[in-house]
């Protein structure tokens, strides 16, 4: 245990800022998960692996001399079609089934993706250098890599665009209608099959953006997907489905929580603390739900 946070007050500022910048990125991934969970009732275990695949797209652009920041435009386009392909091959067969079956199916996709990426790209840890500098604050006691600021900015930009798209466009309305009541939407002429495919594609595209940003700010590796799945799952659990401001807030909250856990408990408990928080939240929600049920009785 150490109490550096109190000894060096600037660490607190640093942790909050780092956490928020990181949390915005988590929120983007979580938003994709919330979308498909709400619309299709599918929990996508392969979410993190789609993120990593997006990261590899940016990395390969970087290898071929294109600035990896362009990855945030190219990766979502490619990933959209990857998403559609996954939907047509697997997801459309499990979409009306039990939640458990979809978890198993996406778990399988996750393992397949990990192995394929490992096979195709190798097991080396890689990263794409953006060459963005660093911003120093408070007499250079607080440092913010510009790549992190860039990634937070792009995440917010994409999230805002998506919200507007969902509100204004025809497909967006159809997606929202399907989420509310798939049967009624079908009766009223919405091609739910198409909506499902598009939803899955949009989710994959969001993962692509996030992946490109992660390759610029952190590192990527074929087996690094799962922590992103867990984090987005948790954010969605906390925020609830269809609650976008909630997703953004709980994303940032999780980011800050992780940073503080890192300083106070130690880096080794960083991911562990996320799991612990997840368990606590699930227990709490169950407790709350059971009380509600009694009340209804």
């Amino acid at each position: 245990m150490d109490f550096l946070v109190f000894q060096y007050p600037m660490i607190t500022v640093q942790a909050c800022l780092d956490g928020i910048l990181l949390g915005v990125l988590f929120a983007l991934i979580a938003y994709g998960m919330a979308l498909q969970w709400g619309v299709m009732n599918i929990i996508n275990i392969a979410q993190g692996d789609l993120v990593i695949l997006g990261g590899y797209i940016a990395y390969f652009m970087y290898l071929y001399g294109i600035h990896p920041a362009w990855g945030v435009i190219v990766a979502p386009v490619i990933m959209y079609f990857v998403g559609i392909a996954i939907y047509k091959l697997v997801i459309n067969k499990v979409v009306d089934r039990d939640l458990f079956i979809s978890i198993l199916a996406t778990f399988g996709i996750s393992i397949l993706f990990m192995q394929l990426m490992n096979f195709a790209f190798g097991a080396d840890v890689v990263l794409a250098n953006s060459g963005y500098g660093t911003t120093m604050l408070f007499d250079s006691n607080v440092v913010l890599p510009n790549s992190k600021i860039f990634s937070a900015f792009i995440s917010i930009l994409f999230a805002v665009c998506l919200v507007i798209y969902m509100k204004k466009s025809k497909l967006g309305r159809a997606i929202r209608a399907t989420a509310q009541n798939a049967r009624a939407a079908k009766i009223l002429g919405v091609d739910t099959e198409k909506v499902y495919a598009a939803t899955f594609g949009i989710n994959a595209a969001l993962c692509g953006v996030a992946g490109a940003l992660i390759s610029i700010t952190f590192t990527i590796h074929p087996y690094m997907g799962l922590p992103y799945t867990i984090r987005s799952f948790m954010i969605v659990i906390v925020a609830g489905l269809g609650n976008l401001p909630g997703v953004a807030m709980s994303g940032m909250g999780l980011g800050v929580f992780e940073e503080f856990a890192d300083y106070i408990l130690g880096t080794e408990f960083r991911i562990g603390s996320v799991f612990l928080l997840l368990v606590l939240i699930l227990v709490y929600r169950r407790f709350k739900l059971s009380r509600k049920r009694e009340y209804l009785k």
Binding site: N118, D124, L127, N129, I214, E259
Partner: protein, 412 residues
């Protein structure tokens, strides 16, 4: 008809029995000595697994083409049965079992990584199969009293203690303040123990002692602490991702520290992936091509590196060099034992005292190589931005002078 069927199944049963019984005497078939190895060809260790396999293959080809192994007046050639352990310790142990009890292998080569070697060692020990391994450096491998395990490399706790000693020396013999961050795996934790020993020996103080998670890709928290507490040395070990993450974030956060010591720099291709940002990093290495050790097969490090590059198309990392050395050790032991009896070969291995292009090899009773010090190299870049690893310690092999302290980011 029915009789025919019975005869047929009887004959096929015989054939199967016969073929398996042939296989179970497969250690030396005709003029071939068959070694077994479980290697990570897929999974998270696959890149280092391939380096290991390339090292083995290179040595097999070289020894075979230069006359093979002479035992009892007859010449034998090496051959290796490989299985893919999928970077999974359980699978590696199963495969070792299979190599020994089904394929009849009587001599083994090691897998990649300490974790997998730890999984295999109890199996080879149980069957009394001598194993020469080249990629398991964890100290815990050598304290279990294994009799059939021999490692050509220096144990993990020696990786970075040279760095601490050097830092103390440069500090005028006065103790230094150390910040360290290690992944939580067998290897990195052993490197950590080495640092703790070195700190105690020199009276140095450890002011930051972080453990990094396996899923590590962000060590900003550790670096913020380093920035605030200003240690004299920062030590990082977390395989390739630890090295890559550290360099990226140190450069991004402009962390100034007089000495930065790491492991896995060449496996992470630091200078290629990070260019000038990796400059001045000190890296522990089992081997470097500029070292002047010699043998009859590969001549010296430079020749080995050139031959390796010609065959596989890349500069050999130390993982390949040490793997090649493992076969030289086996050849030497077979010839001295002048027999394929496992006990005799084991005793010959234990008495090994030789020089290879990779370094001197002499085993302690625990099985680790005690005759080969670690080297430290420093990443040095020229004005054009191309970087090279230059050996800076121990002084005997230094090809460049250590740059210390590392210039501040504001002056670069």
């Amino acid at each position: 008809m029915r009789l025919n069927k019975i005869i047929l199944s009887f004959v096929s049963a015989l054939v199967i029995l016969f073929s398996t019984s042939v296989a179970s005497f497969a250690k030396v078939v005709g003029d071939k000595i068959i070694l077994g190895a479980a290697i990570s060809l897929t999974g998270k260790y696959s890149s280092n697994g391939v380096h290991t396999q390339n090292g083995y293959n290179m040595a097999v080809d070289r020894i075979n083409s230069m006359g093979g192994v002479k035992v009892g007046g007859k010449t034998y050639k090496f051959d290796i049965i490989y299985y893919d352990d999928e970077s999974n310790p359980k699978r590696a142990a199963q495969l070792a079992e299979r190599l020994i009890s089904q394929d009849g292998v009587e001599f083994m080569l090691g897998p990649y990584s300490s974790g997998l070697t730890k999984a295999i060692a109890p199996v080879t020990e149980k069957y009394g199969v001598p194993m020469v391994e080249a990629n398991g450096a964890s100290r815990s491998l050598f304290t279990k009293g294994y009799k059939y395990l021999f490692a050509v490399l220096a144990p993990a706790n020696l990786y970075l203690d040279v760095a601490i000693e050097t830092a103390v020396e440069l500090n005028g013999g006065k103790p230094v303040r150390i910040a360290q961050a290690f992944e939580q795996d067998a290897f990195s934790q052993d490197v950590r123990l080495g640092i703790l020993d070195a700190a105690e020996r020199t009276g140095s103080k450890i002011i930051i002692d972080d453990k990094l998670p396996k899923e590590l890709n962000d060590m900003a928290a550790t670096l913020v602490k380093v920035k605030q507490m200003k240690p004299d040395v920062l030590v990082v070990s977390g395989h390739t991702k630890g090295a890559l993450t550290a360099i990226r974030q140190i450069a991004e956060m402009k962390v100034d520290v007089p000495m930065l010591a790491m492991t896995h720099c060449d496996a992470a291709k630091l200078s290629k992936q990070h260019g000038k940002n990796s400059q001045y990093a000190l890296c522990a290495s089992q081997w470097h091509k500029s070292l002047t050790y010699k043998d009859d097969f590969f001549k010296d490090g430079m020749t080995y590196a050139a031959d390796f590059e010609k065959e596989f198309g890349y500069d050999p990392p130390y993982q390949s060099a040490e793997s090649s050395a493992a076969l030289l050790v086996f050849k030497d032991a077979f010839e001295r034992a002048n027999s394929f009896d496992q006990k005799k070969v084991r005793d010959a291995l234990a008495a090994t005292n030789m020089q290879t292009f990779y370094g001197n090899i002499k085993f302690a009773p625990g099985g680790q190589n005690v005759d080969k010090p670690m080297v430290l190299f420093q990443v040095m870049c020229d004005a054009s931005g191309s970087c090279e690893n230059k050996v800076v310690a121990p002084l005997k092999w230094a090809s460049a002078k250590l740059i210390h302290p590392i210039p501040k980011w504001s002056d670069r």
